[in-house]
């Protein structure tokens, strides 16, 4: 099987719910976002469109980050296609960040808490698993998925713009949506084979 995600740009309103639900789920430190929302505009006044593009690790079939990693810290699970980072093996060289054409990897070098006064009880509880000076990124909420729950960004989206499922299963909702609504990936010309698809506006 191969886990994948479909993000419906017709539904998405760019509310940052995914970005912040992810932050709450993983307790990521300042400057680290497993999920982000990019904003862009297209066209000229008055025929202009404001576009929101939620992004996250694409969990590529052929991930350039894995190829670039000198220690084997970045790896792809053959079992379900999730691309992960073994923090214990990461030496923080950031080769993977250079290799990722989607810039969805982050180097954790900032303070580990948001308020200058120190870590909040939440941060103390949620950031204990993080290591500093390593690269971090989305892991498709592996723990939630294993527990039978969808990733936090999928579960939370107020517009129900995100769907999670098995891309290898032609009957899954993600496969159906990609087929029926002309799902596309980002930068297909690079041949990375992203597992995150988008449905057009």
């Amino acid at each position: 099987m191969r886990w994948g995600m479909v993000i419906d740009l017709k539904r998405c309103i760019g509310c940052y719910g995914c970005q912040l639900a992810c932050k709450a789920e993983h307790g990521t430190p300042p400057g680290v976002y497993y999920a982000r929302v990019l904003k862009q505009e297209d066209g000229e006044y008055p025929t202009v469109r404001q576009l929101s593009l939620p992004v996250l690790c694409n969990h590529c079939e052929d991930p350039p980050c894995v190829a670039a990693c000198p220690t084997g810290a970045s790896f792809k699970s053959e079992e379900d296609g999730i691309v992960e980072i073994d923090q214990d093996l990461c030496v923080g060289c950031r080769s993977c960040m250079m290799a990722c054409p989607y810039t969805n990897r982050y180097f954790n070098e900032q303070p580990q808490h948001y308020f200058p006064q120190g870590a909040t009880p939440f941060e103390q509880a949620r950031t204990e698993r993080h290591q500093q000076n390593v690269v971090m990124k989305c892991n498709f909420c592996r723990d939630r998925v294993r527990a039978g729950k969808p990733p936090a960004c999928v579960a939370n989206c107020p517009t129900v713009a995100r769907v999670f499922g098995d891309l290898d299963d032609p009957t899954s909702e993600v496969s159906r949506l990609i087929k029926e609504r002309a799902g596309f990936t980002l930068h297909p010309e690079l041949g990375t084979g992203p597992s995150v698809y988008y449905l057009p506006q």
Partner: protein, 867 residues
């Protein structure tokens, strides 16, 4: 009833529980599950068991953890040691005990209550809707009518709520997302970031888009709603009425495609109007007359079959020439040609014509549809407005004109049309509570079945020489008032012989120095108070003026029995479920924090008016035996909440039941959601009542030297310009306006570091949006620091964001940013303080609903980047 029980996740070995409760990061109050592990909240998710948000939250909702754990939260009561009050005076806070704090407050309150209770002003933020009943009850029991919600009303819906109330019996309106095919939004973002039923509407609007609903968004800025629109129609700031009236003219006079039977049966369109612009009334009964086409004569409106009522024609009743209100409206609309609308709004005449035609065509006048086995009128079009359209001097007419679109085609509270938020409820099947239905009031016009406070929108009370500091008893169409803090408040109070002055303020969480208008005006007003006590989470720019600060519990530490009631406010409209969630503490108070509701009860005891407060709670919560509060017995807030829940849902569903189950819900009936055909009420498409009210106000005001422009009180809507539209000072060529940002609530959330971080990444949140071509003409570049200066010399500084998505004459500011207090170090210095450009006086208020004019003509000059 509830399949899901949070208890099933509980493990005995350690503290690991999901607690059902309610969000409070904005007034939408979506239902949450807070995950607590070993005494720490580690996640907040939406509660999938609730209809309010349906298990999903916006970015603000999931970020509430960081507001809760902010180390800058207040933990102890404090007293100021510096007697001087000012914007930049350090109060010299000194920690005191609750005993000292409550003693001192109670003594002040006792004295002022004995002297004149009206000298107390009770003010609260709109963000915590749970504060409404405790503070309203406290104020009314204390004996003061001087109640305010800071910038609330002025900055959201003085016009929207008034007109939604008069026309839809609800606090706001929304398209029927389940069935609407064509929605036109005027300065509104319902379903795209707005607070009312926030997350629920986001989901419903997304479903509607996928279903194929067309959405036209009329707005100077192409952002949240406009970004998802089928068509963005940019317009000159504050001219929404011009487009709406132009469209009405196209529908009525060019196309003739209005819904005659609806207008006859459900509006005052057939009521006969005399040359004096008033109803022609039946001599004996005083009822408005209509022209009975069958008998060819005048008869009272309730004595004629709707289908026999004339909508057009010229008639004589005795010696009096008269014509149906619809005929007056029709004639009135003729002057609003698409070409006129273009001159006012800058929207091309062809677009005005096309939008009017599309709206009329898509309305499918005369059609019906079957919903849940019930045959109902089907009008799948809706015209929606909110803050953007009505935050102006022409507040009332802007909104009234937009809603006329719905009324003309009969798309009001029917399938697919413009819906009020739940104006009719038949109650829970077990208890029949809470039940309310709009009813016919004076002249057969609709009176709401449920309301939020103040007076009902219709019938308005009679104007009188005012006794309220906000003058709402003179300007009776108004709801919240700018005159508590305006620079001319003393002058107005003197003119109108208001026999007392404000001396004491209880403030709950409002940051009015930033949330009303320019800070100097509000600071001067606050400095006049002899004593201010403020409940706050953190220090604010306003708490600088307080004498005593009380550390409030946050929403994760508080209890409230009615998160989403009244249903007309934040429960999603349209089909679905009725749902009653509660808020309950997930965590204990930190330090000496105490929940405001308990503190108010204790203050009432200390001052000695618990019996009055009990009576007020009985009224506000509609408590019936055996749950009524008796005498001066000292009930805890928890006990009061328990009584309210049992009162509404039966003895088995008290607080303990709700603490475990989170919500009670039941299915809505089509007869509730689409109530209009089932309830015999009419709404005014001709606001006859406005004229006599205007005349009465003028009769009181004119002899006292205040000129009330009566063109604002004409029964039919018009475009009347804002001050900004009249500014012709050279160089002042932008209309400044602000809008609600999707990651921020009022001035509250900039201190939340997750939301602050998201706002910093967003290109617009902390910037000033300017049209790219206009910027180029003036030599401005993206990211440049500029000063924005009003005609009167008020200035704010900010960073430009150049965009194609803004009207060339508009200058857009997000949210209420620009904090300077050290008490909120994350918020400090972020974004732009737009409100500081706004004047706060009679001249900048609507003469009808006293809404503040929120647009301002400005010039933009380059700022030295270092300054």
């Amino acid at each position: 009833m509830n399949v899901f029980s949070p208890r099933q996740f509980q493990t005995p070995a350690r503290d690991d529980v999901w607690v059902p409760s309610s969000c409070s990061i904005c007034y939408g109050t979506c239902s949450i599950l807070a995950h607590r592990v070993d005494g720490v909240v580690v996640k907040i998710e939406g509660n999938p068991d609730s209809a309010v948000g349906k298990g999903r939250l916006c970015g603000k909702g999931v970020s509430g953890i960081m507001t809760h754990y902010d180390p800058n939260r207040l933990r102890y009561p404090m007293r100021r040691t510096n007697p001087k009050k000012g914007l930049y005076q350090d109060p010299g806070w000194k920690r005191i005990s609750w005993e000292e704090a409550l003693d001192e407050i109670a003594e002040v309150l006792r004295k002022v209550r004995a002297d004149d209770p009206r000298k107390l002003v009770v003010q609260r933020t709109t963000t915590v809707t749970a504060s409404r009943v405790p503070f309203h009850a406290f104020a009314s029991a204390f004996g003061t009518p001087n109640f305010s919600v800071s910038g609330g009303g002025q900055h959201c819906g003085n016009g929207a709520h008034l007109i939604s109330g008069i026309m839809h019996a609800s606090w706001s309106v929304v398209p029927d997302f389940d069935y609407c095919n064509y929605a036109i939004f005027f300065g509104a973002s319902k379903g795209h970031s707005a607070g009312h039923a926030s997350c629920s509407n986001m989901g419903k609007a997304a479903d509607a888009r996928v279903r194929g609903m067309k959405m036209v968004v009329v707005d100077p800025l192409c952002n949240f709603a406009a970004a998802k629109a089928t068509e963005w129609v940019p317009l000159r700031v504050g001219t929404d009425a011009a487009l709406a009236l132009g469209m009405c003219n196209v529908i009525v006079n060019d196309l003739g495609s209005y819904d005659g039977p609806y207008l006859q049966a459900k509006t005052n369109a057939p009521y006969l109007i005399g040359e004096d612009k008033l109803y022609v009334r039946h001599a004996e009964s005083g009822k408005p007359l209509v022209w009975d086409l069958r008998l060819n004569g005048p008869r009272p409106y309730d004595a004629v079959a709707a289908a026999d009522m004339a909508l057009e024609g010229d008639f004589m009743v005795g010696e009096k020439p008269c014509r149906p209100a619809f005929q007056c409206l029709r004639e009135h609309l003729r002057k609003f040609t698409p070409e006129w609308a273009e001159r006012v709004s800058s929207i091309p005449a062809a677009t005005v014509r096309r939008l009017g035609t599309e709206f009329a065509t898509e309305a499918r006048v005369g059609s019906t549809i079957v919903v849940d086995g019930v045959t109902l009128p089907y009008r799948p079009v809706a015209a929606i407005a909110f803050r953007g359209a009505q935050g102006h001097r022409n507040s009332v007419y802007n909104f009234y004109a937009v809603d006329l679109l719905n009324q003309l085609v009969g798309a009001a509270d029917v399938v697919g049309g413009c819906l009020g938020f739940n104006p009719t409820s038949h109650g829970h099947p077990d208890t029949g509570r809470v039940s309310y239905v709009p009813s016919a009031g004076p002249d057969g016009l609709m009176v709401v079945g449920s309301w939020m406070g103040y007076h009902y929108p219709y019938p308005p009370p009679q104007p009188r020489l005012p006794k309220n500091l906000g003058l709402q008893d003179l300007f009776v169409i108004g709801m919240t008032s700018p005159f508590l803090d305006s620079v001319d408040s003393e002058e107005l109070w003197t003119k109108f012989e208001v026999p007392y002055r404000p001396e004491v303020m209880i403030n709950f969480g409002a940051n009015l120095v930033m949330s009303i208008a320019n800070k100097d005006a509000v600071a001067e007003s606050l400095s006049r108070y002899k004593f201010i006590v403020s409940f706050d989470l953190c220090l604010t720019e306003t708490s600088n003026f307080a004498d005593i600060l009380l550390p409030d519990c946050g929403y994760l530490q508080s209890l409230d029995s009615r998160s989403n009631f009244p249903f007309i406010f934040s429960l999603p409209g349209g089909l679905g479920e009725w749902c009653w969630p509660i808020r309950q503490p997930v965590l204990p108070a930190d330090g000496e924090q105490r929940q405001f509701a308990e503190v108010l009860l204790e203050l009432a005891d200390r001052v000695g008016f618990r019996a009055d407060l009990n009576a007020a709670y009985n009224a506000w919560l509609d408590l019936q035996p055996p749950y009524r509060l008796m005498g001066d017995e000292r009930y805890s807030y928890e006990n009061i909440c328990d009584r309210e829940l049992k009162n509404n849902f039966g003895p088995e569903r008290g607080l303990e039941w709700f603490k475990s189950n989170g919500v009670v819900k039941w299915k809505k009936k089509p007869q509730e959601v689409y109530w209009r055909p089932f309830v015999d009420v009419r709404v005014p498409v001709y606001w006859e009542f406005l004229k006599p009210i205007g005349d009465k106000i003028a009769a009181i005001a004119a002899p006292r030297g205040l000129n009330v422009p009566l063109e604002y009180y004409d029964p039919l809507p018009d475009f009347l310009p804002c001050r900004s539209h009249c500014c012709d000072k050279p160089g002042f060529d932008f209309y400044g306006f602000y809008y609600r940002d999707v990651v921020h609530t009022n001035s509250f959330t900039m201190e939340n570091p997750w939301l602050d971080e998201a706002a910093q990444l967003d290109p617009f949140s902390y910037a000033i949006a300017m049209n790219r071509a206009e910027a180029r003409k003036r030599g401005f570049s993206d990211g440049q620091m500029v000063w924005v200066e009003s005609e009167t010399g008020r200035k704010v500084k900010g960073r430009l964001k150049l965009t194609e998505g803004i009207h060339p004459e508009g200058l857009g500011f997000a949210a209420m940013c620009g904090h300077w207090t050290d008490g909120q170090p994350i918020a400090k210095g972020k974004g732009v303080f737009y409100n500081d450009l706004l004047e706060l006086d009679w001249e900048h208020a609507s003469p009808v609903n006293i809404n503040l004019d929120l647009c301002v003509k400005v010039r933009v000059v380059a700022a030295e980047s270092a300054s």
